[in-house]
């Protein structure tokens, strides 16, 4: 076994800044002083590892968490979690959450005047397999209004939380859907300066994961920071 000695620094234009004034909530919450760059010690190079016993195996199918079926267009969302060297990130915990097909979250503070779905929680989790693969079945989330600016609407999206092998590899992001016209107007999506990086947050339509007569498939691969390892590996 090799031990990582550090994780690579982010490619700056591909990660959003802390302050993005068009995203109004960032104005009072983003730190104003520069971050202090620090080396990786054993603290940042380790992290929680979640085993199969911490996962409910069937919860990755969000269409079967209830006695009835949720309303909406059933979809499969699947992909791989890789590191920068395209090595699979195995057995890592992924947590997802999303609005229902009407654009409403099952959260007491979501006051959007759209119906809740008694058969849809909008959340699930899973572990990646030996090749870094994951798969969720869900319904396509709806767009919803928010109060960032006049007539603001979030494009349809699914939140993803991924741990990876270390504190340094932790990532929370959002997956978007291809062809959604609202992306062009969304300050959260457009907080990422690099166009190609933004495009990678948009899932690809994927015939291969489509279930005939049941669900369309979307593919969303996630790349976590790569580690440098000790020369002892070779």
């Amino acid at each position: 076994m090799s031990e990582p000695v550090s994780y690579r620094l982010p490619h700056l234009s591909t990660q959003p800044p802390l302050l993005h004034p068009a995203y109004v909530s960032s104005q009072k919450r983003a730190p104003t002083l520069p971050l202090i760059r620090a080396p990786h010690t054993s603290s940042e190079l380790s992290g929680p590892i979640f085993s199969a016993s911490s996962v409910e195996p069937r919860i990755c199918d969000l269409t079967r968490q209830s006695s009835g079926a949720p309303i909406g267009e059933r979809i499969v969302v699947s992909g791989k979690v890789l590191d920068e060297d395209a090595r699979p990130v195995r057995h890592t915990l992924i947590e997802i959450w999303q609005a229902n097909a009407a654009g409403r979250y099952l959260h007491k503070k979501d006051q959007h005047d759209a119906p809740l779905d008694p058969h849809f929680t909008g959340c699930g989790h899973t572990l990646t397999d030996d090749e870094g693969r994951y798969r969720f079945v869900t319904v396509r989330p709806g767009a919803y209004p928010w109060r960032n600016h006049a007539n603001a609407w979030r494009p349809a999206h699914i939140h993803f939380s991924v741990f990876g092998p270390a504190f340094a590899s932790r990532l929370v992001t959002q997956m978007y859907f291809p062809g959604d016209v609202l992306q062009a107007y969304d300050p959260i999506f457009n907080s990422i300066a690099d166009e190609a990086a933004r495009a990678r947050l948009v899932a690809g339509f994927d015939w291969d994961s489509t279930i005939p007569e049941t669900a369309l498939g979307f593919r969303f691969d996630i790349v976590l920071r790569g580690s440098r390892v000790t020369p002892m590996e070779k």
């Binding site: 060297d85 099952l106 959340c123 929370v172």
Partner: protein, 189 residues
């Protein structure tokens, strides 16, 4: 082959429906060896207003300074009862609290000793990427030689050092100040 890491996005305001499952203010299950402690504090925004929708993730070593190799209490291969990972959300007053055992000092791969500390990731609506910081302890002589603390300008180090709230009870206070005077030090790792 070289891939570019996926861009971060905010957790937004409704993360608790999914992240709540692993929220656990008890990092040490009450059976871990070491000195029990509680850390409580508030998260405050640039107006000094409490942030009621933040979530903090804690990562720490056991009382010997060794990191658990598994995030689950029952499988921990280091200190029995210590999972090392905690996740706590703030309440409507911006307050959070967790209990654990005080971590020991460890050393890095190059053998440098570091002072006892906890790592913290902070997520909230308005943060497009997480914030990363550390909590250190007061009255700790090893702070003086800690590699990471040493990178912080002296006048800002206090933002990383918890204050004693009740010495007998082992309770500390540590606040997250997002902006302004006493802004907490955050790291780029």
């Amino acid at each position: 082959m070289s891939l570019v890491p996926t861009s971060s996005q905010t957790v937004g305001p409704f993360f608790s429906i999914a992240l709540g499952r692993l929220c656990n203010e008890n990092i040490a299950a009450g059976t871990a060896a070491g000195e029990c402690m509680a850390i409580a504090g508030r998260v405050l925004d640039g107006d000094g207003m409490p942030v009621p929708d933040a979530v903090l993730e804690i990562w720490q070593a056991d009382a010997r300074g060794i990191y658990p190799r598994n995030g689950e209490k029952e499988d921990s291969s280091t200190a029995k009862g210590l999972c090392g990972f905690g996740r706590v959300a703030t309440n409507e007053h911006g307050e959070f609290r967790f209990v654990s055992v005080k971590p020991g000092s460890g050393s890095d791969t190059e053998g440098r000793e570091h002072a006892p500390h906890l790592l913290v990731s902070i997520f909230m609506r308005g943060l497009l990427t997480r914030l990363m910081t550390r909590i250190y302890f007061p009255d700790e002589p090893r702070n003086a030689n800690d590699l990471v603390l040493g990178l912080v300008p002296e006048e800002r180090r206090d933002t990383l050092i918890a204050k004693v709230a009740d010495r007998a009870a082992g309770s500390f206070q540590w606040n997250v100040i997002l902006q302004g005077t006493d802004e907490t030090v955050f790291f780029e790792w």
